[in-house]
């Protein structure tokens, strides 16, 4: 029996793996079913967005950045517009700001609904996926009605938004929000108490707050680890300081908390959208900005809280109509980078659950 031995082996997870949400490749060092080491390999979706943006005017960058993080493309639009507005000190009309908040929060809800479905599917429940997408569709319908596209909006522009809200948007939006609020009970009934779901998520993939901060984890993943840090509060942008909402925080930092936190955030976002719809003033929806506008030389790093975490863009202007440098910072980038630090010594199935609850989206990582 002396020649019987066990050995560790390498498992190549991805780039075409159903639960890597795109084309992430992870080389896993496995001991049986147990993951000993993770080495993420990214770049399969690299489209050189930053370089492309350096060769485009400010207005042209926005549709390119739509593709940066297409699940919440509104926030990509917004963060670039915010950077350009800060560079050129543009005043944005009130109505535009309200519309922006509505769109950003609707997009956050849509993204979290997708998260709900995808996470459930990664843990093996197939039906919640369709339920999540069903309500997401109603939000995408609103977007299509407003700006004409369902995913790559190109809606929020430097100085405002590209079009005013269409006729009948407000009642339809209220209706969609009411439906989602009602359906949240269904979502929670399907998974929250389900013993299988609980054993798969509770205590799995605990991300300590210290590690999370060290690796730059942000957004719901950070808040699930007990750090109350939301840019809508801590570095306010737009008109978020006028609305009343809670920042949900949970303390265990495991998959279950990350999941629950996002469901809580949907509720808060619904609340914000309702307030914004009620407070929507009349007026201009866009400040006068030339499509070839040239912000004065300088640099700014704008960051907002999107559904995944901190979405930042570092724009340097040299006074010409094209930016000198556009550096995008997506939350998922850090969320993948942190995996080797805390997701080891788990089973393969847990790694899938952890990856799903980190809510990673690959185009944001590869850019």
């Amino acid at each position: 029996m002396s020649d019987l031995r066990t050995e560790e082996y390498y498992l190549n997870m991805g780039p075409h793996h159903p639960s890597t949400h795109g084309v992430c490749r992870m080389v896993l060092k496995m001991d049986g079913e147990k993951v000993k080491e993770i080495e993420p390999h990214i770049g399969y979706l690299h489209r050189s967005i930053e370089k492309i943006c350096e060769n485009r005017t400010y207005a042209q960058c926005i549709p390119i950045l739509d593709r940066f993080e297409y699940v919440t493309a509104m926030s990509c639009n917004y963060v670039f517009a915010l950077a350009a507005e800060r560079l050129a000190s543009i005043e944005v009309p009130e109505r535009a700001e309200h519309i922006r908040v509505i769109m950003l929060e609707l997009n956050r809800i849509a993204s979290h609904l997708l998260f709900y479905g995808v996470t459930a599917m990664d843990i093996g429940a197939l039906t919640p996926f369709l339920y999540g997408l069903r309500e997401r569709e109603s939000i995408l319908d609103l977007f299509e009605m407003t700006c004409g596209q369902r995913l790559t909006y190109n809606y929020i522009r430097v100085g405002g938004v590209s079009r005013d809200l269409p006729n009948g948007f407000i009642p339809k939006c209220h209706e969609a929000l009411n439906t989602i609020e009602k359906k949240l009970a269904d979502y929670e009934g399907l998974l929250n108490e389900n013993p299988i779901w609980l054993v798969r998520t509770v205590g799995i993939g605990v991300l300590p707050a210290k590690v999370a901060l060290d690796y730059g984890v942000s957004g719901p993943c950070l808040r699930a680890s007990g750090v109350q840090y939301d840019l809508r509060r801590n570095d306010p942008y737009s008109i978020y300081d006028r609305f009343e909402f809670d920042i949900p925080v949970r303390h265990n930092g495991d998959c279950y908390d990350r999941y629950l936190l996002r469901l809580d955030e949907i509720r808060q976002s619904i609340h914000i959208v309702r307030q914004a719809l009620d407070a929507l003033p009349e007026g201009d929806f866009k400040a006068k900005v030339s499509p070839n506008f040239k912000p004065p030389a300088g640099e700014v790093y704008a960051r907002i809280e999107n559904s995944r975490g901190e979405l930042g863009v570092h724009v340097i202007s040299d006074g010409t109509k094209k930016p000198l440098r556009v550096k995008t910072r997506g939350a998922s980038y850090n969320h993948i980078a942190v995996l080797p630090a805390f997701a080891t010594d788990v089973l393969l199935a847990d790694l899938v659950a952890i990856f799903a609850t980190m809510d990673v989206i690959m185009p944001e990582v590869d850019r």
């Binding site: 639960s19 093996g124 429940a125």
Partner: protein, 355 residues
């Protein structure tokens, strides 16, 4: 083992067939062999049709649960969609891995397929509708259905793929673990019937509905539930579908199979599901017993499809367990419960506190 010839005569068809054959001057043995061959073909086609129907049904149920349509293109609500799928799979190029273990890789789907069909030799489809009534019928079923695990292990090993190997190992561990609670649940039934013959088991539940084993309080329902859980695991279905866990192992043991070989695994999976459901119907739900205005085979099918429906509902509602939790559940929960239940049943049987 010799097949009991007596059971064969129950088909008018076979009486007619043997009459015809004998008139052509075939000897009795030849007639018997031909009859069995014809019977085999009938069973095979019936089961294939059932498997294809189950695929379609599962897709429809899943679709309607998720507020979709599911297959709609071929025929009324796409009823022959799966037939077209099967034809497509048969025509497909058989892509094989270069570094496979040739023999093992080839035989795995065959064994899986055959093992799935073998159980139907002793399955009582209706009153006097059984191929062969062994006196060890249920034991035989337990034995041949376990062949599947060998096939899955072979598929996992022969594919020379780590995902497939993981799937094969998982499946072996899972099926071996869940065999125990399954048998223990079945034993409670056998304990009362006193026979392992499928016909005996069914006839012992005849009469009114409370003769069904599931209504034998208090252990009947427990045995049924534990059996159903173990059976779901045996059939590799969610929440116990870890051997092919799509999100973890991509497709598990059948990751390297394509075309017809994949179709064989796929159909075998659905036939296995039908087998365990049919067993549940036979053992716990009175088999083909029912009011006589509906033919007995219809009762059997209705009950079986009822159990299948339940399994589908479970599949499309629940998440998947993790591999160690699955084992834990089997050994720490199901095995104690089924054995306690078995002892309880034995005590009740011994004391005579039952009807």
């Amino acid at each position: 083992m010799t097949f009991p010839v007596a059971v064969l005569e129950l088909y008018p068809l076979f009486r007619w067939l043997s009459g015809v054959l004998e008139s052509f001057g075939f000897s009795a043995n030849t007639v018997l062999i031909i009859s069995y061959a014809v019977l085999g073909v009938i069973m095979f086609s019936a089961l294939s049709i059932i498997a294809l129907f189950l695929v379609w049904w599962e897709r429809k149920i899943a679709a309607h649960m998720q507020q979709r349509f599911g297959p709609m293109r071929h025929g009324w609500h796409g009823w022959y969609q799966t037939i077209m799928d099967a034809i497509k799979l048969l025509q497909k190029e058989d892509v094989r891995v270069a570094s496979r273990d040739k023999i093992v890789y080839f035989w795995a789907p065959v064994i899986c397929f055959v093992a799935a069909y073998l159980a139907y030799i002793v399955m009582p489809w209706g009153k006097n509708l059984i191929v062969a009534d062994f006196n060890i019928g249920i034991l035989y079923i337990m034995a041949v259905t376990t062949f599947t695990v060998i096939a899955l292990l072979m598929a996992g090993w022969g594919s020379n793929n780590k995902y497939a190997l993981l799937g094969g190992m998982r499946s072996a561990a899972q099926v071996v673990s869940y065999e125990i609670p399954m048998v223990a649940s079945i034993l409670t039934v056998i304990l009362f019937v006193g026979s392992m013959s499928m016909v005996d088991i069914v006839t012992s539940q005849s009469g009114w509905i409370f003769n069904w084993f599931i209504f034998k309080l208090p252990f009947g329902p427990i045995a049924f539930v534990t059996y159903l859980i173990a059976a779901t695991a045996e059939a590799n279905r969610t929440p116990f579908d870890i051997p092919e866990a799509e999100q973890e192992l991509v497709a598990g043991f059948n990751i390297e199979y394509s075309g017809m070989k994949f179709a064989m695994f796929f159909l075998a999976e659905f036939i296995n599901m039908f087998t365990v459901s049919a067993l549940a119907a036979t053992l716990f739900l009175g088999g083909w017993n029912g009011w006589s205005f509906i033919p007995s085979w219809a009762w059997f099918l209705m009950k079986t499809f009822g159990v299948v429906f339940l399994m589908m509902l479970i599949r499309w509602t629940y998440p998947r367990l993790r591999v160690d939790q699955l084992m834990e559940f089997a050994w720490k929960f199901l095995v104690p419960v089924t054995f306690a239940n078995l002892i309880l049943a034995a005590v009740i049987k011994y004391a005579g506190w039952h009807w």
